[in-house]
Amino acid sequence: MKKWFVLHRKEWLEMTRNYKVIWIPLIFVLFGLMQPITSYYMPEILKNASNLPEGSVIEIPMPTSGEVLAQTLGQFNQMGILVLVLAFMGIVSSERKSGMLKAILVKPVRFSSYITAKWMSAVLLSVGAIFLGMLASWYYTVLLIGDYPFMNIVKGTSLYLIWIMFLLTFTVFLSTFLKSSGFVAAFTLLLSILLTLLTSLFEKYMEWSPAQLTNAAASLFISGKLEGPLMLPLITTVILTALILYLAATRKSSL
């Protein structure tokens, strides 16, 4: 257990030295505050940006606070996932490629400690970044559009984070055995897009899908209460995440 903390600490030191601890949260905060701001100023932006004929009247109804927050979530689900996957795609594969993995495993360290320490650092940083991003979004939404209960933010974001954890775990898993970190990113993004797409296309058959958690969080933001399936996707996601993490932490065939 002591060695696990040593490895975990090393991950944080590395993420500090290569500034991941700064730029990842920063991107999420930027995305988070862009959404309410662009929603608020949309009519102005359109007026200035487009060369509409003189006298055109632009009327866009102001979205509710909940809708803006749900849009933020949608933004996170596209650009945010891309950022996280690109940031963590090489988490294991780059160390295997450089030979660092061998240098560590020649010491009396368990492979599972090595993987889970990395996994935990990625999860913690992502969770922190997304929370900060949602917080920024909430702050500007309240400021510009209208009041919104803080507890709903916490609940909705927590639900959404389970989906993110699932994708992060998948990234780590692929990174343990794929040679190229580019493939890791490509496959994880593919999985995320496929799951989201299939879930919205075949809603009937995809009630178990982890991507349902995003929908649940969005509905929580918009209407203030949970709509649609929740328990089933929650359980499958947690089980799948645990399973993938287990597989990642046990395979040791190719160093």
Binding site: S98, G99, M100, L105, V106, K107, P108
Partner: protein
């Protein structure tokens, strides 16, 4: 006491057999050289001993116990040591020390001690990314020694270094072998002869020779007299080939190598012969064959 025993170790990658039925043992306190040409299977063997690769077949026992995790007792320097370039030397050594099971304070003390011993204490606060090849090699040895291992394994510790760096590492190995059992691989015979006690020679993944250096010298080293001359001495070479005292004569161009059974006697006889026949010799050397010849014999067969 036997520290490590390897029995019919085999590793194959698909159809390619990298290491085939290798058996040997390492006594505690010895310095052992693993010799072989490039591609003979040295690195694969060492990686299996360091539990970085699973053997396809065969067993490794450490201190007479088979199938145990003995990683805490070994230190390993890979052929191309790698580090976290964003760390400095002291941070890296402390990390490796803690991963080896040392407490933080013990690791710090030990790291400082080793940096001093290896002569890179001046650069301990510098990022490893800016280190030279020789400094990295030293740091690699330091990380292998951090937890005072019973067995130190070095994969080609001097091959990539310049003559000065190589001299220094060899001197260091002489120092280390006083306290630690060392197994190192090399394809340079001269280095092996200089520091090791025992030799394990492998060829194409198979064991060729295993013996102590002195034993090898006794068995395979012959006295040889080399004569160079201004003219071709083939005819004369043929005439001395059937002397009792001569075991073999190799004559190339104007040079004759005469392998003899008794140097003192042969030297006298040859010198008399040379003066009698007024041979126009330019050089007369008395010496011994080196292990290089044995190596060539093993590799070339």
């Amino acid at each position: 006491m036997e520290l490590l025993e390897v029995k019919s170790l085999t590793k194959s990658f698909g159809k390619h057999v990298a290491v085939n039925d290798l058996s040997f043992s390492i006594e505690e306190g010895r310095c052992v050289a693993l010799l072989g040409a490039n591609g003979a299977g040295k690195t694969t063997t060492l990686e299996m001993l360091a539990s970085l690769q699973k053997p396809t077949n065969g067993s490794i026992s450490f201190l007479s116990v088979e199938k145990r995790d003995y990683r805490e007792y070994i230190g390993y320097l890979p052929q191309y040591p790698v580090f976290f370039p964003w760390m400095n030397a002291i941070e890296y050594l402390v990390l490796m020390g803690e991963l080896s099971g040392l407490s933080k304070s013990k690791a710090v003390a030990r790291a400082n001690e080793l940096l001093e011993l290896l002569g890179i204490a001046d650069a301990k606060k510098r990022k490893i990314g800016g280190y030279s090849g020789g400094m990295k090699q030293r740091l690699g040895i330091a990380q292998a020694l951090i937890h005072e291992p019973k067995l130190l394994m070095l994969d080609e510790p001097v091959s990539a270094l310049d003559p000065v760096g190589r001299r220094e590492i060899l001197e260091l190995m002489k120092l280390l072998k006083e306290t630690t059992t060392i197994l190192f691989s090399t394809h340079i015979l001269h280095d092996a002869e200089e520091v090791c006690d025992d030799v394990i020679m492998i060829h194409k993944g198979e064991l060729a020779v295993t013996a102590s250096l002195s034993e090898l010298r006794r068995k395979h080293q012959e006295d040889v007299i080399i004569i160079s001359a201004d003219e071709n001495l083939d005819a004369w070479a043929g005439s001395i080939e059937n002397w009792n005292i001569v075991s073999k004569v190799i004559s190339t161009n104007n040079k004759i190598e005469i392998y003899v059974k008794n140097v003192a006697e042969a030297r006298n006889l040859l010198l008399v012969e040379i003066t009698e026949k007024k041979l126009p010799i330019t050089k007369f050397t008395v010496g011994q064959t080196s292990l290089e010849d044995l190596f060539m014999e093993v590799v070339g067969r």
